[in-house]
Amino acid sequence: MNTEKLSAHPMAIRGVIPQGSRAPHRPATAPPSAAPRRAHELRLMWRNTRMVVLSVLTAALYAAVLVPFKVVPLIPGVTELRPGNAIPVVCSFLFGPAAAWGSAIGNMIGDFFGGVGPGDVFGFFANLAYGYIPYKVWTIVAAPDQSPVALTPGTLARYVLAALAASMLCADLVGWGDNLLALRPFWVLGNIIIMNNMVAAIVLAPLLLAAIYPRVRRAHLLFTDLMPEIEASARPRRLVGFAMLLGGEVTAWLAGNLVSAGYWRPALVPAAFNVAPYTRAVALTVSPAIVIAIIGMLLL
């Protein structure tokens, strides 16, 4: 038996693996050096048990705040009051990629209490973006190691930009997806979601963040402490990503609203698609902008 290999295993160090038994192929928490260098952090985080637990906690907290408000619909079948939308933004600054997955899973769990639908697939990825974008945008617009809780006009403006970038892509993805499935016109969800997300992100999230961020930092549970192996990509690449994200999501939002409300009939769209209720015209017009925004998000 290769005792050297066994003793090197982290579970063996903690005494989990009995003497004489074989070491599993992969450690539960891979040491930083064992992680593939080129893996994206959204994949990499699943190798770290603490990050998995943080994504579970984010999901459970998000769902626990969403579910009680399912009974207070603003427009039945469309949306409800969602104070829980503050959780992904708060957790994004704290737990990074774990918050992205947590908000995606949490939203899906929330949907389970109010009925699931085909649009929830888009809701899953939209919430993934909603939890992923704030901390990534923050690393671009803020100075290194700048805390998001400082009450200065500059910090607040950067915070609002990060929250708005996340809210807009979230709204675009759900509006586009539900339009693609011909469930709801783009102009309904594309606007309601931005409003709902921004209300929670501006009214609630800063208060929560101000109370929780310093404590999490002291407890060394920030994602930068738990996953030091995450390396930021080169700044030019991130800037290009940021420009693509903003350009793509703003274009998607404008085009989606104008086409679905019948105010713009793009010349490039075939005439057969340019008829009310414009679901195909919206799909054709918005899709390229969504693709650009998603590529930009992944380049951040």
Binding site: W46, A63, A64, V65, V78, L204, L208, Y278
Partner: protein, 260 residues
């Protein structure tokens, strides 16, 4: 507070393989996707009512009754606003209301209500374990499926601790119901912080507990419940394929569309 929609019954639908139930949900989504005509959506509604009867899911449908009914009018209005075809009954400024628009809007509303009904039926007959097992069967990574089922389990726990904090603060004279909507929302922040911090205190213990049980050790984990495809599952799949095909044919031959 409702923390799960699952109803423990011994019906034929409950006993179906979880993947078949997920496939059933997909077939309902697929079928209603192809048709807009309210009349074409009626057979699916009848099938859902029959399935609810077989599964004994009426308590959940009763709990969602107002939601099922009230979701139709807003959906109708949304779609009628953009459907500007057919001879108008009312034509004023931006309002262009025709008989076709009414049918189209009602069809869309009915479609959403049927989607919700299908999901209520699915959740009434499927446990979280069944659902996460069906995800694993569909090649969703084990860790993601596990995270989802663990989060599901924690939701009632967090809701419970939030309720305890709210009650404790009410006892101390804190008024959560003062002010407008935004003011009220802000008043819940002091209740959310202890819940958040309580959750964070679990992180290290939970991670250690998971690692001690070999979480992510690279070995495919086994399951307490064993699922196998039976003849009942095959018959259900065949029926679902027929339903999905019929609805696609309705679309292909133009019977599902609303004509102006």
């Amino acid at each position: 507070m409702l923390t799960s929609l699952y109803l423990d019954r011994a019906s034929a639908i409950h006993r179906l393989h979880p993947v078949v139930k997920l496939f059933g949900l997909f077939v309902v989504f697929w079928s209603v996707f192809w048709v807009d005509r309210p009349l074409a959506l009626v057979p699916i509604a009848v099938l859902l009512i029959l399935a609810a009867q077989v599964a004994g899911a009426w308590p959940n449908f009763y709990a969602f009754r107002w939601f099922l009914i009230l979701m139709i009018p807003p959906t109708m209005i949304e779609w009628m606003a953009v459907y500007r075809q057919g001879p108008p009954l009312i034509d004023f400024w931006f309002i262009h209301l025709s008989g076709a628009a009414l049918r189209y809007g009602f069809g869309k509303g009915l479609r959403l209500a049927e989607l919700l009904a299908a999901s209520i039926l699915f959740l009434s007959t499927t446990t979280v374990e069944d659902f996460s097992q069906s995800l694993i069967n569909l090649r969703i990574p084990y860790r993601v499926a596990f995270a989802m089922s663990l989060a599901f389990r924690l939701v009632p726990l967090f809701m419970d601790s939030a309720l305890t904090v709210v009650q404790a603060q009410r006892l101390r004279g804190y008024d959560f119901d003062q002010g407008n909507v935004f003011e009220r929302l802000r008043r819940y922040v002091p209740a959310m912080i202890p819940v958040f911090m309580g959750a964070l205190r679990r992180v290290n213990n939970m991670a250690m507990a998971l690692e001690a049980r070999g979480f992510g050790a690279g070995v495919r984990p086994t399951n307490l419940s064993a699922y196998s495809m039976t003849r009942r599952d095959v018959v259900a799949c065949a029926l679902l394929i027929v339903i999905g095909t019929v609805y696609f044919l309705l679309y292909l031959y133009g019977y599902g569309a609303v004509t102006p």
